[in-house]
């Protein structure tokens, strides 16, 4: 599976480098948009901010594709760009919030409109609790969890991205799952009280 992904990556990149074709640019965006969005979301914990970052990442990727040297996989390269842009975004946001009285964070409701108001509230709460649980994890545990749980990456791929041994990643993943379980349990029991 990994080899196939890399093969597609390389052929897309080579074509784009020579042709600057819109179609290939769209293919690249389509292939990685969910991955980029989910990665950004873990950093900023806000859907609108993650959306802005996703756009910025692809502009950066498409305008600096000539700098990609095949030293890592394309996905790893995109991951690094996304994490750098997200970290910079957070820094800027901290400064903005420091000078602003309005620190409210926008949150969009993505819960299905087919649900009853009670179900929508439950899901919205769970969504919020789950994202907070992920945000509360140490960075390496958070990234390992997300890349494995959401993105279905192999430990070898994750190791390339965040530079930890496979054994360390398995331990991180276990700790992350354990902490999220405990966080959600605790939040649920507080709601019941």
């Amino acid at each position: 599976m990994t080899a196939t992904v890399l093969e597609i990556d390389l052929s897309l990149i080579k074509s784009y480098k020579t042709s600057n074709s819109n179609k290939i640019a769209n293919d690249i965006v389509n292939t990685y948009k969910k991955f980029v969005f989910a990665t950004a979301l873990r950093f900023v914990n806000d859907y609108d901010d993650a959306d802005d970052i996703t756009q910025e990442v692809f502009i950066k990727v498409l305008t600096s594709l000539h700098k990609f040297e095949n030293k890592s996989s394309f996905k790893t390269w995109i991951y690094r760009i996304t994490s750098n842009i997200s970290i910079n975004f957070l820094r800027k946001k901290k400064i903005r919030n420091f000078f602003s009285l309005n620190n409210s964070v926008s949150e969009q409701d993505f819960i299905s409109s087919d649900l009853t108001p009670e179900e929508r509230l439950d899901k919205k709460e769970l969504d919020s609790i789950f994202r907070k649980a992920i945000a509360s994890l140490p960075e390496k545990q958070r990234e390992t969890f997300a890349l494995r749980y959401f993105d279905d990456l192999t430990y070898e791929e994750i190791s390339q991205m965040i530079g930890t041994s496979v054994g360390g990643l398995k331990a991180n993943y276990h700790q992350a799952v354990k902490k999220i379980t405990s966080y959600i349990n605790q939040s649920n029991s507080e709601v019941i009280k």
Partner: protein, 214 residues
Amino acid sequence: MISKKQLEGQLPDYVFDRLSDTEKAVFESEINNHPDLLNEINEVRRVFSQVDKMDFEKIINDKTRNTIVKVNKRLSNQSSKSGMSLLLRYAIPVAVSIAVLIFITNSTKNTDTNKEFSNKLNTIIETNDLRNYEIDETDYITSYTIDFNQGNGVDNVDVINSIIEDSNPAGKRAVLRIVPYNYVANENIIFEQIQELDEEEFQFLLEEIKNAEI
């Protein structure tokens, strides 16, 4: 036989069905020796069955549905501005930097003189209580003041000089009227009007102010 630590490392993959058949068989044969891990598996399953209902895939699909359109729009905006971007990136910052440097150089040159001038005038004004001074030769003074304030084609320095050279005491009072009352309050204006005076002229003006009859 695999260690507890290894089992823990495989636990999430077991719960989320990511182990191969062989790994799964080994895991299941060993896990019964660890009741605490069995409890943990049940707990993780229970909690994550709720999380799975969240359908994050759908959330992310919804949010990224228009990513291509947004990125293309921003890219085309960027390319249409690319001609301007060189100007914005290089020419304007360079021009602004040069302007700032010129401004700093000029203001540094004048700052000490300005401060000294301002201090001297303020001291004289305070010492002689000039702030409360009323002038009665209104018509005489007005002619100078109008020239001084509005230009009327007469150089401001010339106006001051002509007042100072005037033997009429009212002329000297006019100096007091013009300098302390009209301009000391606004340092920018007084600097604009009088910074052209050389040191000798300036000292003369100060002496005249000191000697003025109040």
